[in-house]
């Protein structure tokens, strides 16, 4: 409001100035160009004063404020722009970092899956091999047991056969065999039997 006062003061001066500038009247008949009112020099002088004062007053009161306000506004806009650019750069950096971390996590997941797959394959192969070995061992064991049972049965058969044969021979020859004879005969029979191609 205070800065409007000089303008109003100037306005009062302007409205009273014509009294000092009073030139000729407006009834002059100057022929064909009378409408131009070329005798009204006061209008030119008044315009110079009015416009000169207006420019002067505005240059002193208004334009510094306009310039200052524009500078403030420019600084504010530039500040907001810089802040926005900074936030944008940070957001882009964050996004890049997240993308990188996401990519790394994906790689890690992929690697873990591959490793798990490899482990599973290895475990499967190991288990399979172990199973085969165990089956093989079981088979071998069964075979051995069968062989042993067969040997035991054959041995029993031979012993029984030798005993029968011995008893038969003793009855036939009329004499009894001693224990040593009996053992010797049995061992010889077993040896012969084992050498026989049918029982090998």
């Amino acid at each position: 409001m205070r800065s409007i006062l000089p303008v109003l003061a100037v306005a009062v001066v302007l409205l009273t100035a014509p009294a000092a500038l009073a030139a000729s009247g407006g009834d002059d008949k100057g022929g064909g160009l009378a409408f131009l009112q070329l005798h009204r020099y006061d209008l030119g002088i008044f315009t110079l004063i009015v416009f000169g004062l207006l420019v002067l007053v505005l240059s002193k009161t208004a334009w510094p404020k306009i310039t200052e306000g524009l500078a403030k506004r420019e600084a504010s806009i530039l500040g907001a722009r810089d802040e926005a650019q900074k936030v944008r750069a940070e957001a882009e950096e964050l996004r890049a970092r997240l993308q990188k971390e996401s990519a790394e996590a994906q790689d890690k997941i992929r690697a873990l899956l591959d490793e798990a797959r490899r482990d599973a394959d290895a475990l499967r192969a190991t288990e399979k091999e172990a199973g085969v070995k165990e089956a093989q061992a079981e088979r071998e064991r069964a075979k051995r047991e069968i062989e042993a049972a067969k040997d035991t049965a054959l041995d029993e058969i031979y012993r029984t056969a030798v005993d029968l044969a011995t008893n038969l021979s003793a009855k036939t020859l009329g004499r009894s065999m001693t224990a040593d004879d009996h053992r010797k005969l049995l061992d010889e029979s077993l040896a012969e039997l084992k050498q026989s191609p049918r029982l090998a």
Binding site: L21, L43, T47, L48
Partner: protein, 290 residues
């Protein structure tokens, strides 16, 4: 019947009413609102003096008000603030900077913006019924052009010094014959020195002539109605032909409405042209093309 529409009798010169097409456009000590209502202005004031002062007051208050608003650095709010700011930025971005140059444009903005607003408002006054347009006087536009003339050449002298500035008017001509070369340079320098004055005169005459002619044409087209209907002014072929009033009146009114719209545009255009040419002339003085 029609005579009663036009009130009292006009000035008569030798039995015939005198038509003064410039009567309402030129300066006077009264504001005529129809023929029966005249507001007299006490001497030494006159129509133009009052409206010149009024234009200065309005521009001063308006710019000061918006300056106080802008000082805060806040963005503009409200129609008036936006409107005035847009006018100021228009002068800065479309006149001062392109005309004077990016670097010096803002330095001359206070003068150019004040010039634009002042002329625009003076032109606009004439668009209100019964009000005058002070820019329709050659001394008003001449005074404004004189200020611009001073600014142009003071700016040029400040930029180049007196001698340097005077040299900028002398063109460079490449001709083998020295006599022809210097004769041409001298002749063109004289023309260039004359141009320095002619530019200011052109500024003044263009604005004055446009405003005077525009309002005079509007008056004359509207005056056709009186020429056919008012016995004091009636032309011979319209005598006893009352029907002509009903034909001419709508035509005149429609034409005046259309031309008023054009005149409204011209009010802004002439303010722009005056200010823009001023900016260009200042720019040429500070940064001559050769």
């Amino acid at each position: 019947m029609l005579t009663t529409l036009f009130g009292s009798a006009p000035p008569v010169d030798g039995g015939k009413a005198k038509i003064d097409p410039f009567g309402h456009v030129v300066d006077s000590d009264h504001i005529e609102i129809f023929e029966n209502l005249v507001i007299h202005i006490p001497p030494p004031l006159s129509k133009f003096l009052i409206f010149l002062a009024l234009a200065a007051i309005i521009v001063g208050v308006m710019v000061t008000w918006v300056a106080n608003k802008m000082a805060s650095g806040e963005p503009p709010r409200g129609r008036l603030w936006n409107f005035v700011e847009s006018l100021l930025f228009f002068v800065r971005d479309k006149i001062a900077r392109p005309g004077v140059g990016e670097h010096d444009g803002d330095k001359y903005l206070p003068l150019l913006a004040t010039l634009f607003l002042f002329i625009f408002l003076c032109n606009l006054f004439g668009m209100f019924p019964f009000l005058p347009s002070p820019t329709a006087h050659i001394y008003v536009t001449g005074a404004l052009a004189f200020i611009v003339f001073l600014v142009i050449h003071i700016g040029g002298v400040k930029e180049h010094g007196v001698g340097g500035y005077l040299k900028t008017f002398i063109p460079h001509i490449e001709v083998d014959n020295a006599l022809i070369k210097y004769s041409l340079m001298g002749g063109m320098a004289v023309l260039e020195y004359m141009t320095a004055f002619i530019r200011a005169i052109i500024l003044a005459v263009r604005l004055f002539a446009n405003m005077l002619a525009g309002h005079t044409v509007l008056f004359m087209i509207l005056f056709f109605i009186k020429l056919v209907a008012d016995p004091a002014y009636q032309i011979d072929i319209a005598k006893g032909q009352d029907w002509m009033f009903w034909v001419v009146s709508p035509f005149s009114v429609l034409m005046v409405v259309a031309l008023s719209l054009l005149e409204l545009f011209i009010a802004g255009l002439q303010a722009f042209v005056f200010t823009f040419l001023s900016a260009i002339f200042i720019g040429l003085a500070k940064h001559p093309p050769h």
